[in-house]
Symmetry: D4
Subunit: 217 residues, 8 copies
């Protein structure tokens, strides 16, 4: 058991690959750890950030013909992309998914899904055993209870997983506001999904573009 630290341990877009797992109606129907609208919002924000930074994103479901299709807020980000459907609850035992991930050649594996304690925990734990650097984006996940979500996080930490939230992932990919090509795209994502930060940015731009009043307002 070693500490996970150092500059190299921070996420980089060119080394990242994102896997979104089972954001489906059956799972959401018994999600009790988070406000469902926030999980949808955060996952869509994460997906758009991945797209903005060119991070390959794998979409997968479990028996979608019964448990329901992936949320449209996610699929809308990747029009036409194949969604890998499985019977295996543990995504990482399904070569259909793992082969696609391996094909990207990237080793910073980022996972989010429903439920935290099942569909996220199993692949995270297995992949860690195989040497992957695994990050779980907890606020794009959710479980059947607050306890199940939090206990799963403790379990994954004990397995060596790295825990983050979606805005932190996006900001770590950006790393420097001087990288203007992605800064604009990221700002757009925050404006749609970043709550107070999006509104604060719009205010900032409005006021900056207001001529200095000649007499104090």
């Amino acid at each position: 058991m070693t500490f996970r630290n150092g500059l190299a341990s921070l996420l980089r877009p060119e080394d990242s690959v994102l896997v979104l797992i089972d954001h489906q109606p059956y799972q959401l129907a018994n999600l009790n750890s988070h406000e469902p609208q926030m999980v949808i919002n955060n996952t869509a924000g994460l997906a758009k950030a991945a797209r903005a930074f060119g991070v390959p994103t794998i979409l997968t479901t479990v028996i979608a013909e019964r448990g329901g299709l992936l949320f449209p807020q996610i699929t809308d980000v990747f029009p036409g992309q194949e969604i890998i459907d499985r019977t295996l609850i543990n995504t990482w035992e399904d070569p259909k998914v793992v082969d696609v991930v391996k094909a990207t050649g990237r080793k910073q594996l980022i996972i989010a899904g429903l439920w935290t304690e099942v569909c996220v925990a199993m692949p995270a734990i297995q992949a860690l055993g195989e040497g992957w650097d695994v990050t779980v984006v907890t606020d794009a996940c959710g479980g059947v209870s607050v306890e199940s979500h939090e206990v799963a996080i403790k379990r994954m930490i004990a397995a060596g997983a790295n825990m983050m939230t979606w805005i932190a992932v996006a900001a770590e990919w950006q790393r420097d506001w001087a990288r203007l090509d992605t800064a604009g795209k990221l700002t757009e994502v925050f404006a749609q999904h970043g709550g107070g930060s999006g509104i604060a940015y719009l205010w900032e731009q409005q006021l900056l573009n207001t001529p200095v009043p000649t007499a104090a307002g």
Copy 2:
């Protein structure tokens, strides 16, 4: 002090008028009673529901050139609509707003805004004294602390205001799922802003449109 009950006390689209007050950056920057993204989401959902039911909606701000423009998630629902800017903190003391509300000829006055304890409480209390039937949509509001939000709700209840949340307002306007002209529009609003209800509806439609399996799946 009388009980507010009876069928006539329920909200009807044809008698409703909505006033959205001061959903602006300055206010959101110190909102601590709710997740800001949820307040934006709920207010946008409420605005779209009002549009779907033909409920006239008044938009107003306080000194927008300094405190910031109304959230685009709200103005996007009403493209081109005038936003009434004020210096008066209490909207109801400004005839520019009240005259527009009165011109609608409607008496079920529905209010949401930031902050609950200031920009919502004052007009609600004044309008109640003038005989309006006032409903406050609490989850499209928010205050500087949980206590300030909750205490303001108690104060407005003591003033005779009716308390609701945005999905309840929309469902009360709908009243009967047999009203198909608005049912479809409302469903669309829920799909975008209604969290688990939107996703559950999509699942329902997917499964209903799946042929009955010949052997149990």
Copy 3:
């Protein structure tokens, strides 16, 4: 607005009628105010208590062919009983339901359902205006958020509704443990649904039926 008090205001089995509204999958899929398993448990406990005390119980759903059938934990308590399906969101505007309630000749109207802020609030408020003595069993209800549930309770209180929880209703029907005919049945309901009370009762009976130890244990 008058205080609701006095011995006559307490619930009596012979004057009570229970209406269970829209305990259906679509509603449960976005219930975020309570642990869903507890709502199912509490509603089943309430239903069984009603049966034990001979309180007529009306079951109703809204478009069950799409939104899903009433929970089996409820229908199992009343095998073969008709479930009144509606398109009207507001149960009390549907004479199919109201006529059955009126036919019981009882005036203590007890309501529980999903969601508190829609399917419970509307009939409660309408019935209060028509002179019914309305009690809402809050822990057999639930809403899309904690705020929507709590705000709806405040609204119904302002409408004159009486607020209770399911164990309080059952105990008020019992009123005196000397009424042995129902005491046994109620104890059985608590054993299944009453959490710590059921287990405590079993312990009490075990120890009472243990011979006094000859030497201190």
Copy 4:
């Protein structure tokens, strides 16, 4: 029991009188309903707002030679002002205080103190019975437990008291941002005690005073 509403029911500086009761060390030592630093901050903010609007403020303690002196954050706002010391726990039974309040000729009586359930509740309830319009500033109060604070608020509401929080009081006194003589003073109070609002205001001023960038920043 009547609703408290109408424009006249809003607070006006010229009709307001503030009584701060027993913000003393002994009381703070067992305050468990709020973060103590926030109660000190909110009471100081309220005191400074009162001074800014010319609202007479009465300071009183109970046996200060043993229970400790009024917080310096409050006395610093009113240098040299007499603090009325009492043995009576119920301030309103002590003519030394009531006479001073009456001498102001104002009838909008605003109270804050420690503890909510003792030193605030008693005078509020007594004064209400004598016809005063009583407002309690809940976040400048606090009790020995969350329950004691909240139950006391329910009790005072049942006695007819009006509930507010300190920023709401200050904003209601201001009423219109066009009243520039007090607007500046109030902004200063928010900058010191208003958390995010103070910082947001400073940001607004900084950006407004930044020349419009020639190329988008």
Copy 5:
């Protein structure tokens, strides 16, 4: 429905009578609204305060031979006093209790018991209908869930009951620290049951009895 206010509405020892209901093991075994040790502590503190002020206290249980004896922390305060055992869940329907209360000739009826929603709510509501001035000491009560406790408080408020907590009752009986005969006794009760207030008092006395240091400490 009238406001309950005015000096006469405050509790006075000579007009008060306290009824402690069903603080028994069976009830405590499913108490989930409060920390059980705190309910025991608060009830014992309330009982000792009643004794200190000469307030007659009635003790009653429901089928104690099965549900268990009153907590010894309560009975120890009143050695040798008869405990009225009932089969009636609603204490106020049992003349054995009511006759004793009436015999005291006092009309400020103060109630605490387990559970809030059953054994407290029923007698409170009935007695209010009979014209009693009823106060419920909420933190010497408790229910099977937080919701059941809180909903019962709302119900009793709607019935006209007055809500307080035990330290507020004791302080209201004291009213003036100049009443030295009871002040000392009350201080002793706080030292044992009043958490931080007891310890703060001891500190105050220690420091007051410390000679002024010749050089600052």
Copy 6:
């Protein structure tokens, strides 16, 4: 101290053995970390899942003739099975239990019991020292306070224990929905104990078995 990860670290039915410890009335009577009904529900769900997957389950109590018999909701799952009674608080010091566990030949030791901080923590910590792979099912446990439960979980993590919740254990045993022999049994367990998931499954099946409507519903 090593990370616990890799595919082999996931639970498998054929390597699992479950020990349920002291789910008894005395313990439940002072359980304050969870809703008691949920602990009963979760433990019964876990027991039925173990039975469905053929996982041997050991039942044990501490002095059941005084502290009360195991909950019937658990014993009903294993009719006729011996319950090992102990005087030792630490189950793992009692060879009567350990020998039975060892006889199963399995090394994935899964524990749940009351209280987390006593009857679960001690055997978990001892067994870990002896080389067992220990998993604690936290939501089938509970303690005398939230703090005692949570601190015990931290302690057991520091001892090397794996933390899970009951639905996660059951889903991990299932691993692949293509294993139809257990999938049906597990679905039945969820329908009874899995809250929203059971109801969502019933809805799914209802809708799948509804013919596709000829015109949109």
Copy 7:
């Protein structure tokens, strides 16, 4: 960093030594992480358990002549015992304390005190570095905020400390209810300080000593 597990890692009375640090008025006056009465209760319960098991207990304060004397609820357990007063905030840097601890020859060092993040954290971290086996009894501690208490626990875990609560410590010392000499004493401690467990025990004894009813009660 190694896992702390195995039978030898459990607490034994003969190897334990308890140090109670700075349970003084100055610290309690700003304790905001716990209900103060519960901290007093839990520390007294821990102290009495230590006495019951013959565990040597060291009492220490920091500048008691100013910050106040140790709570009498603690000193009453050890009449006449010296209390070691310090100026050093970090107890473990004061040989007056450490020498007494070392003189006991015991290595299972158990600490509780106020505040968790200062007076407990420093000696725990230092002693761990010197090879002591350190257990912190978190519910006999407390800090200036919930965050400060919880962050300190995380820090001490990262330093290798063992976290427990007072009832867990007492039960671990007892280990087997067949040790009758201490079982009776421990039961007495629980009856006074163990909330629901004390009352449940008294009920158990009452019912066991009730003759079996000839007809079901």
Copy 8:
């Protein structure tokens, strides 16, 4: 991964260096993990404590001309000090900051900033990899949600960071109240920012300087 313990691991003023990062308006505008006023208060308290102990403090911002200037409550502590502005989100990648820190020659690196999960987490994790002893002062930080703040803390713990709160840092620097030169300064900081501790200290001094009453008060 090793335990961080031992006397040498405690903070010493002469080895400490403090970096305050991005306490700016844009960040505060979407801070939802803490009360903003408390974060401002705690950071100012930490800054003043650093000044009192002579701990060098580096101030840094990210694009302050747009995101806003450092809070004046912080800059007021260090009049005239340069604030290092960056475009890099990760402070530790900017040599302008790191060189200044290195120039102090100190290795106990103490960090606080907004947001915890971005501007604090990245430099903490990088610096740990470079061998720094990193302490994060969590209550002078804050994030966009409670979850983002708490998950970031878990991540930094897994990276080897030490977690503290501001009062704990200050007390650890003081270490011994006999160090009178800093004790007075620290007491002054607590009086302004330490909530109940400041007031308790003033009370203590008042009472100590009160002559012993000739007759008990």
